[in-house]
């Protein structure tokens, strides 16, 4: 009998749970580790929907058009073969989620309904009210619970990943964790480790992310030599509710359902439109729907980077509502039926601001939202000679895989709205398949206790060192300062001067961090120790973001540097790779070519558009489905 494959999956959002389900289906035994109850993972915050080109609206939509929109939305920085396969798997995955019982909104005849989202002209977004991520997560969580009852999954919730354990050949053989209730350090052995730990919005503190999205796991692996891809690409969502503790997302679906963005016009002012025109800033005292005027074809549904830049330039021109950093998102004209579909988010707005958005326009402003970059993962393409000698979604460390927001795949320089839920589920399934092949193909030597003991000792030493630090600094105050630097210099508008200044600022924080004193020195659910340990690695990731941005002298997707106002394919059609240099403790930046085999880069224009079926080139003969038993092997 074949030996049972034992896998550790770290993170229980959409990607982690998808990987677990696929692994269980294929007969593996999984230990699922999460800092929280997996049902409380950040996927719950995704509101608007999931993109799949099933063409139920008679628009001649097709996975090829979805592929085209995604590649163009990402400003041609995404490798194209994985995007193609994700879009082709979309219709299959939505049927799976339907069978799992996700309460998608329905048409009058009982079929799944679709709405329009940003960066496309098609109604391609399936949704469950305005909490689609929550509903998808619950459905996957339920299936994993079913496997748990069958004994195929063991959950370790309230545990945190600290480091991967690599053998003398550099192959990942397990990982070190601590129990957040008693802070005890231990390791787990595994044939493979799958990371699915999400994005890093909390580095910016004021973001739409959950407080658990620190990005620390990526930082820990980066320190161990794992490559980070495209770290400088951070998505700023155009519409969030300003707040003291976090910036709460106001879904793109609000605009997909007809919500309009405006400020009071001022005809004495002018702005440069993207098509070269100089336009007047509306009529004084009257609503100026600036996105509709700047981008006639896509209007309020331009991609997020485009909308965020427009809002910031309008506010910089002095047109913010009440002179503040806010613009109106107006849903007051929508009918009750539409308001009902958006109830979850309208309730959030009302609860946190006290204003009823059905009666008065919402006041919103852009906020850090999504991490396009992340752990570099491999993708041997279908039909390529090396397809079955390399493994999809494996990092540069053998046996260490990554999926979901913590990896760098699919979204290039900017993610399209409602593509994240698809990429998380798809990449989780891909990873499940590939892990099984990897463990069957790999020959690993015997393990020694010393290997794991040594790794545990390193973490125990760092824990004791943190507990023993003495000084005047408070880690939460340092976090606010780090966030201040990152938001000022690392978000919508960047400059080389600002980025250099920011790197100095972050290094100064790293220095001061040595002089923290923890307000809690105990071993019982010590959240201060937990955060201080994470902060060490958040600093590393912050430096990769800033350094990647400093090097990239062009304007691409979410990376906008007015000094270099154009996309520069000749010099910059390449992916940023950041590796940790233990000598300098700074990121070393190198580049890799982008796989553009299916679509030659074209101008990314959203001012005009017609529905065309794009011609994709070099397509594989057959695209495998991730739920097929052999995933394209036969």
């Amino acid at each position: 009998m074949q030996k049972e494959t034992r896998v550790v999956v770290v993170g229980g959002g959409l990607a982690g749970l998808s990987a677990v389900i696929r692994l269980c289906e294929l007969g593996a035994h999984v230990t699922l580790v999460s800092v929280t109850k997996v049902k409380r993972s950040h996927s719950v915050c995704a509101q608007g929907g999931i993109n799949v080109a099933v063409n139920l609206k008679g628009e001649n939509d097709h996975p090829h058009i979805h592929t085209y929109d995604t590649i163009k939305g990402g400003d041609f920085l995404a490798d194209q073969p994985p995007v193609l396969e994700m879009c082709h798997n979309g219709p299959h995955l939505i049927r799976m989620m339907d069978r799992m019982g996700v309460p998608f909104n329905r048409t009058s005849d009982g079929k799944i309904d679709f709405r329009r989202f940003g960066g496309t002209l098609y109604n391609r977004t399936a949704f469950a009210g305005a909490s689609t991520g929550q509903q998808l997560l619950y459905a996957l969580d339920e299936q994993v619970r079913r496997f748990e009852v069958q004994g195929k999954v063991v959950k370790l919730e309230h545990h945190e990943f600290l480091r991967a354990v690599m053998d003398e050949n550099g192959t990942c053989r397990g990982a070190v964790f601590y129990d957040l209730f008693d802070m005890k350090i231990f390791s787990l052995r595994a044939d493979s480790v799958v990371m699915a730990t999400g994005g890093n919005g909390v580095i910016f503190k004021y973001s739409t992310n959950s407080t658990i999205c620190t990005g620390a796991a990526n930082g820990r692996l980066y320190r161990q030599g794992v490559k980070i891809g495209n770290p400088e690409f951070i998505q700023v969502h155009p519409t969030a509710i300003p707040g003291k503790d976090k910036l709460r997302l106001m879904s793109e679906s609000a605009r997909g359902e007809g919500g309009r963005i405006w400020v009071y016009g001022d005809s004495s002012k002018t702005m440069n439109a993207p098509d070269g025109r100089t336009i007047r800033c509306g009529e004084t005292g009257k609503p100026w729907y600036f996105l509709e005027e700047l981008y006639p074809a896509f209007g309020n549904l331009v991609p997020r980077d485009v909308a965020s830049r427009a809002i910031i330039s309008v506010v910089d021109a002095g047109l913010g509502i009440d002179g503040k950093k806010q613009v109106f998102l107006d849903l007051t004209r929508l009918d009750t039926h539409t308001h009902h579909k958006l109830e979850a988010i309208l309730d959030i707005y009302e609860k946190f601001t006290g204003d009823n958005p059905r009666l008065v326009p919402m006041r919103i402003f852009p906020a850090v939202h999504y991490t396009m970059g992340g752990l570099w993962v491999d993708w041997p393409a279908t039909g390529d000679p090396d397809r079955f000698t390399r493994f999809r979604h494996m990092t540069n460390v053998s046996g260490l895989f990554a999926c979901g927001e913590c990896d760098y795949q699919y979204h290039g320089a900017n993610r399209l709205g409602a593509n994240s839920l698809l990429s998380c589920i798809f990449s989780g399934f891909v990873t499940g398949n590939e892990v099984m092949w990897y463990t069957r193909a790999s020959e690993t030597g015997p393990l020694t206790d010393a290997l794991f003991k040594n790794s545990e000792v390193k973490e125990e030493a760092f824990k004791q060192e943190l507990l023993g630090r003495k000084g005047k600094e408070n880690v939460h105050i340092l976090h606010e300062e780090l966030a201040g630097i990152m938001v000022s210099h690392g978000t919508v508008v960047r400059s080389n001067k600002g980025l250099s200044h920011a790197i100095e600022g972050v290094l100064e924080i790293r220095e001061r961090f040595k002089h923290i004193e923890l307000g809690d020195k105990g071993n019982h659910l010590n959240q201060t120790l937990q955060f201080a340990n994470q902060f060490e690695y958040m600093i590393d990731i912050a430096l990769t973001i800033l350094q990647g941005a400093l090097c990239r002298d062009e304007f691409r997707g979410a990376h906008y540097k007015p000094e270099f106002p154009k996309r520069d394919d000749e010099r910059w059609l390449k992916k940023t790779i950041a590796t940790y240099d233990p000598e300098t403790r700074l990121p070393k930046i190198t580049y890799e070519p982008v796989d553009v085999r299916h679509l030659k880069p074209v101008e990314r224009d959203y001012t005009k558009a017609t529905k065309i079926t794009p011609e994709l080139t070099n397509l594989p003969a057959k695209i495998p489905l991730v739920t097929e038993l052999d995933y394209g092997r036969s």
Binding site: R99, V149, T528
Partner: protein
């Protein structure tokens, strides 16, 4: 404008070592309970000026969709992220807000309790659709918009535990499964694929701690942050369970 201050009085500590500690806070417009606890982390000094440990609590999304940050606020089970300070001070006319951990779940520390029992209950009632494989050449059966609407509402349950904390029949020493899991039975029994396990779920609810132990106090529905019609679910499932018991008794087909 003059600075307005208020006091946060927190019932904190570890099992068998709980005590009140007070913190004085300067009111800022828009503050909620979580943002105040975050302020305390930056300078953990009590009202008497004593340096203390930062308060421990559970949080994640801060937009009332993850269910993490449940606690007793002025004695009521609520989500702390969506509880704004100003209306609370205004409603009570006092300048003190009291926080305490849920009392019906094992205390871990300060405001952090262990709600594992709720997740075990979801296993007991088979709260899932029993799909055969993930391979999906077809969509599931059609669902009317009306059916979808009630499924969606029931499916927004975030396992926060407010309904159980408020329930007089639920406690750490008793077996009653509580409203959250019963409502999930209603949800999955109404799903086309989920209904295939209808009998098993009803049988599970007829055991010790099952639906018959509901005392109909209706506290659950009053405190549910997602406005799930929990008492309707309990009534519906109660009726179904009785019919199911009758069928089992006489060996009738389901």
């Amino acid at each position: 404008m003059a600075e307005v201050k208020f006091t946060l009085k927190i019932w904190r500590g570890t099992p068998r070592h709980q005590y009140f500690e007070e913190f004085e806070i300067v009111l800022i417009h828009g503050m909620n309970i979580v943002s105040v606890l975050m302020e305390i982390q930056k300078n953990p000094v009590s009202k008497e000026g004593k340096r203390t440990t930062p308060v421990v609590w559970e949080m994640a999304c801060l937009e009332e969709v993850c269910g993490s940050c449940s606690m007793l606020i002025n004695g009521l089970p609520r989500q702390s992220c969506s509880t704004l300070i100003e209306p609370l001070l205004h409603e009570t006319g006092k300048d003190v807000i009291t926080l305490a951990p849920f009392s019906k779940f094992p205390l871990v520390r300060d405001l952090y309790v262990n709600r594992d029992r709720m997740f075990e209950s979801l296993k007991r009632v088979s709260a899932w659709n029993p799909i055969d494989t993930t391979f999906s050449p077809e969509f599931g059966p059609t669902v009317s918009p009306k059916e979808q609407d009630s499924m969606y509402t029931e499916s927004t349950c975030m396992t926060c535990g407010c309904c159980l904390e408020a329930c007089p029949q639920f406690s750490s020493s008793r077996h009653f499964i509580g409203a959250a899991a019963i409502s999930q039975v209603k949800l999955f029994n109404s799903q086309p694929i989920g209904s295939l396990l209808k009998g098993e779920r009803l049988t599970a609810l007829m055991d010790k701690g099952g639906i018959s132990e509901c005392g109909n106090a209706q506290n659950c529905v009053a405190v549910c942050p997602k406005h799930i019609p929990l008492t309707e679910s309990i009534a519906d499932i109660g009726g179904e369970a009785s019919r199911h018991a009758f069928k089992l008794l006489f060996g009738l087909p389901n």
